[in-house]
């Protein structure tokens, strides 16, 4: 896989972008994570998140301006989450659980901080946590004097200030009050610079001019600071950005951010690291995280019973539960595959790339890669059009190219494809009585396998209504090869179709299968191709077909390969309506889901394949109307009443929605029979019916089990016939059953059976790929 392409895919998924609250917070407080924990009652866990980022939890919870609330997406559904009130409830309950311990530096650096406001003390906190020896010099009698004087004690209780200051000094910060630092004299800046490894001036803009002999000032008389790093003209001295005079409006949370920004620079400087390299922009506020707020019902904020005391525990939990929380996950919610793997595209793309890059060791994600249905729904839902199918298909092709594709994942589907393309099944003829084809009908491999009689009927109808000769081509479009990452095999199938098309005078192709239509349109765009359904809508239905009442409404399921085939979607609906069906929409065609066959997921991962079809079935109690044979058969297999559009036009039974899934063995049989019948009845060729090697009796439950194990009845018959010929069997002395095995392709097929007058009763069959033999 191409690393640049992988990065481009990763960049499209925005799930890891921060929620709006964290993006707007100067400290990047994870309010979403806190709310999730508080909603679950885990206040201690929430406090751990809060206090990891916020140096003074008690103070900030009370006086932060909470820019997070202004951008909270819950505002679109009932009102912003009251994050400030939640923080205060958190402090009230869980403050004592804060556990902090400073790192121990091998060689602690000495740092002097001038000014014990929020900026200076935040820097002191961050630097002492890094293991440095920090001394703070403050002119006033107490640290944080401005907070005590300017903010009413009902807003910021003095106890909160005392608690946070106590925690700070217990970490080892030495705060010296009534220590005015001046430009000269007994407590001169120059002495601090000489006596410490680094100095931070966090005094506010006022007294800057007195340091003019030591530091370079701006024209406005402020200390000249680098806006990004807060470095001054002296390498060991830094300032808080209040010195720059850019924003004179006091903000508690911005003061904390300034102190933090300065501390990062001091620490980098003391470590000899670059002040600018890989430095995150702490002023950025936006996020591109997509949140579908319309999905959520409006819920108003919780009002505390006691407004003065704030939220009690239960109220805080309820308010926290109003946080959605903000995630995109639009594709994940709609996709059985991503849901099964509990992942989202950004993480999945990285996992897939890592799996592709492994030189030695287990490729643990092979099955995950082969479990995507390649249905395109994620791309439809993604704000940035990321298609997991593109990623998985690329990975599959890489796995095949490097010999890492597990043989078992697609073996059965590819053998089925080979069978469809073999001389036993595939054939092409001009219309009887014609030596030229203006049109070539290409019903695909699954509709003839599911509804062979109807395929014959529709072909006769096309012959009657289209001029110039309608040829018939029974073959495979190569989709299984494409989906399994076999580029060469896929190209071979395409080349074969092209050769036939050329050989038959470049006729217009008509496909009954949406996948064939998409395959030919995408990979051979120069071939004229149309859907059977648009064609029927144009030429009309057979005369004997009249509108009749279809019992109950039909919920229409579009195949994923018709997601963007608007003309086909419209034609199908018009035909069904013409036939008297009351057609209801499910998700609509563009947001249709996979039936479990797409991308061969049902072969590589039957559990996920079934999850796809079962999810779809749950969407409506109505009978389903499909126009892809595999969709219809998968619905039938999982117990959903479903009919194919062709069943409406050419009903083969009184209740076509009850038509059972023919299963893999039945499908093969139907293809063989259709070929024989058409060649014999339409083209007058002599066809002999094959004689089965042995007569089998298989109970329904055993047959379903055989299907589930991807074994074929024909293969089982061959294995029994061979055993009867050679006598190579085990005999169970208790039951009298015989057990034998035979190698079919890459599978050793075991059959437990019993000869009876009615034939050989198959009791069970199973297979394995490993070969076992006695050592010579």
């Amino acid at each position: 896989m191409d690393g640049d392409q992988v990065k481009a895919w990763e960049a499209l998924c925005i799930e890891e972008q921060p929620p709006a609250c964290a993006a707007a917070c100067p400290l990047r407080v994870d309010a979403r994570g806190m709310a999730e924990k508080m909603a679950a009652g885990d206040f201690n866990g929430a406090m751990a998140l809060y206090s990891r980022v916020v140096p003074f939890p008690a103070i900030i919870a009370h006086i932060c301006e909470h820019p997070c609330e202004a951008v909270c997406r819950r505002a679109e559904a009932g009102g912003a989450v009251r994050i400030g009130a939640l923080e205060r409830a958190l402090v009230e309950e869980a403050y004592p659980t804060i556990r902090r311990s400073a790192q121990r530096a091998r060689k602690p650096k000495t740092i002097a901080i001038v000014g014990a406001g929020l900026a200076g003390l935040t820097a002191a906190f961050d630097l002492v946590m890094k293991g440095h020896a920090v001394t703070v010099f403050e002119t006033e009698a107490r640290p944080l004097e401005r907070l005590r004087l300017d903010i009413d004690s009902s807003v910021l209780p003095p106890s909160a200030i005392d608690a946070d200051l106590g925690a700070l000094t217990s970490l080892g910060v030495d705060i010296r009050c009534r220590q005015r630092v001046t430009g000269g004299g007994s407590q001169a800046l120059g002495d601090l610079i000489a006596g410490h490894d680094a100095v931070l001036l966090a005094t506010g803009p006022g007294p800057a001019v007195q340091f003019s002999e030591t530091l370079r000032l701006t024209a406005a008389g402020r200390i000249d600071l680098d806006p990004l790093t807060l470095a001054t003209s002296l390498p060991t001295v830094f300032g808080s950005s209040l010195h720059s005079g850019g924003d004179e409006t006091y903000s508690a949370i911005l003061s904390v951010r300034d102190g933090r920004r300065a501390a990062v620079s001091l620490d980098r400087f003391l470590q000899g690291a670059s002040l600018t390299a890989s430095r995150a922009d702490d002023t950025a506020t936006g996020t591109c995280l997509y949140v579908n707020t319309a999905r959520h019902a409006a819920v108003p904020p919780v009002e505390p019973a006691d407004p003065v005391a704030g939220y009690c525990h239960a109220e805080a939990m309820s308010e926290a539960a109003r946080c959605f929380p903000c995630h995109c996950l639009e594709c994940v919610k709609a996709c059985a595959y991503l849901t099964h793997y509990k992942t989202y595209p950004k993480r999945a793309v990285r996992e897939i790339y890592n799996n592709d890059s492994i030189i030695m060791g287990n490729r643990k994600s092979n099955r995950m890669i082969d479990s995507c249905a390649l249905c395109g729904l994620c791309q439809e839902l993604c704000p940035n059009d990321l298609a997991m199918g593109d990623v998985c298909l690329d990975a599959r092709q890489s796995m095949v190219d490097h010999g890492h594709m597990p043989a078992s994942h697609h073996d059965f589907a590819l053998r089925d494809m080979a069978f469809s393309r073999s001389d036993d099944v595939a054939f092409v003829r001009h219309q009887p009585g014609h030596d030229h084809s203006a049109v070539l009908f290409f019903p695909g491999c699954q509709l003839p396998a599911s509804a062979p009689r109807q395929v014959e009927a529709v072909y006769r109808h096309l012959c009657d209504h289209l001029p110039g000769g309608v040829g018939f081509m029974l073959d495979c479009c190569g989709a299984p090869a494409h989906w399994s990452g076999r580029k060469a095999l896929h190209q071979d199938a395409l080349d074969h179709i092209r050769a036939i098309w050329e050989d038959h005078g470049r006729p217009r192709l008509i496909t009954a299968c949406s996948t064939c239509l998409k395959q030919i349109g995408e990979f051979m765009p120069d071939l004229p191709v149309a859907s059977l359904w648009t064609e029927l809508a144009a030429i009309g239905l057979p005369d004997h077909v009249a509108a009749r009442s279809v019992a109950g409404p039909l919920a229409i399921h579009d195949p994923c390969t018709s997601r963007h085939a608007h003309d086909v979607q419209a034609a199908v609906r018009s035909i069904a309506t013409l036939l008297g069906a009351d057609v209801r929409e499910l998700t609509g065609a563009e947001k249709t889901t996979c039936c479990g066959y797409g991308g061969l997921v049902s072969f590589a991962n039957p559990e996920v394949g079934n999850a796809f079809v079962d999810r779809r079935i749950e969407e409506s109690d109505d009978d389903y109307l499909a126009y892809c044979a595999m969709c219809r058969d998968n619905f039938a297999r999982r117990g959903k009443r479903a009919l194919h559009l062709i069943d409406l036009i050419f009903p083969d039974a009184d209740d076509p929605a009850a038509r059972p899934d023919p299963g893999f063995s039945g499908r093969r049989d139907n293809r063989l029979r259709l070929r024989r019948r058409l060649l014999r009845d339409l083209w007058g060729e002599s066809m002999s019916d094959p004689v089965p090697p042995v007569a089998l009796v298989i109970a329904d439950a055993v047959r379903a089990d055989i299907e589930r194990k991807l074994l074929l009845v024909d293969d089982i018959a061959e294995v029994i016939a061979e055993a009867q010929r050679t006598g190579r069997v085990f005999k169970d002395r208790t039951s009298g059953h015989l057990t034998t095995s035979g190698r079919v392709g890459t599978i050793t097929t075991w059959v437990e059976y019993e000869p009876t007058d009615a034939g050989f009763v198959v009791h069970r069959a199973y297979g394995h790929r490993m070969q076992v033999e006695v050592k010579p």
Binding site: F730, K731, T748, R764, H768, M770, Q771
Partner: protein, 70 residues
């Protein structure tokens, strides 16, 4: 191979050709170019090896999948 071993739940089988009860023998299992010795019931006379469904769909399948993911 450590993942696949003999199955204690072997039914009361005899070899149809040789009419002899099965015995546990060391046989060779192979997949994707890897071979492993494994004890499995087989006919002591003709060497026809028996693999139960439990073994095929259980430990043997796990080993097959592990080898496919190497």
């Amino acid at each position: 191979m450590t993942g696949v071993s003999g199955d204690p739940n072997t039914p009361d089988l005899v070899c149809g050709s040789c009419d002899k009860p099965l015995e546990m023998r060391k046989v060779e299992a192979s997949y994707l170019g890897q071979t492993f010795p494994v004890d499995l019931p087989c006919c002591p006379s003709c060497g026809f090896v028996y693999v139960s469904e439990e073994l095929a769909s259980g430990r043997m399948l796990k080993v097959e999948q592990a080898l496919e993911d190497k």
